[in-house]
Symmetry: C2
Subunit: 103 residues, 2 copies
C-alpha cells in the first residue's frame, strides 16, 4: 500500500512553500483545490487535461513534501486537500496573498 | 564595463519572484536591503561575512534577474536597491508579506 509522507506543521518551511508555489502549474493546482473547497483527485486538479500522469504525480509530490497538501487514498483514487490551517498557522496570510496572483 | 541586465516591470513574473525568494540567503539579502532603506554594496548586504564572493554574486544575479533588485556600478562598487515600486505594482503586498517571515 502506498504511504504518503507529510511533514509535520513545525517542519513546514518558508523556503519549501515558496519553491513549491514558484511553479505556475503547482500554483494552479493549489488554487483549484482551494476554489473547490475540498478534496480532489489528482486528475480533477490537473490544470491541463493532457498532462502526463507522471508529471502530475511529481507536482503533487512536491506540494505534499512542502506541506501544502495532504494526500489520502480513497478506494482507487488519491484525494488531495490543501493544508490551509497548517500553512496559515505557520505563515499567516502568505498562501492567500500568493494564490490571489495566480492566473 | 559590466552591464547589468534588469527585466522591465512587465516582465517580472510571480514564479521568478517566488523562486528567487525561496532561498533563505537571498531572502535575508532582500530583507537587509529593505531594512537599511537604500543602496548597499554586495559585501554590506551579505548575510554571512565569510560567504564566498562567487556565491554572493550568484545570489545577487538571481535576485536581479527576477526583478527584485537593481544593481548599479558606483566607482569600484556595485550598489543594490530593492525594486519595491516595481514589485508592489506587479504583486501588491507580496514582498512585504514574504519578508515578514524572514528569520
Amino acid at each position: 500500500m502506498v504511504q504518503f509522507v507529510h511533514p509535520s506543521r513545525e517542519d513546514i518551511t518558508l523556503a519549501g512553500v515558496l519553491a513549491a508555489l514558484a511553479d505556475p502549474v503547482r500554483l494552479r493546482i493549489v488554487k483549484s483545490l482551494l476554489d473547490r473547497n475540498g478534496c480532489m483527485s489528482c486528475r480533477e486538479a490537473a490544470p491541463c487535461p493532457d498532462m502526463a500522469k507522471s508529471t502530475l504525480s511529481n507536482h503533487f509530490r512536491v506540494l505534499r513534501e512542502a506541506g501544502l497538501i495532504r494526500t489520502s487514498k480513497q478506494g482507487v483514487e488519491h484525494r488531495n486537500v490543501v493544508r490551509e490551517a497548517d500553512i496559515n498557522a505557520r505563515f499567516p496570510r502568505l498562501l492567500k496573498t500568493i494564490v490571489a496572483f495566480s492566473e
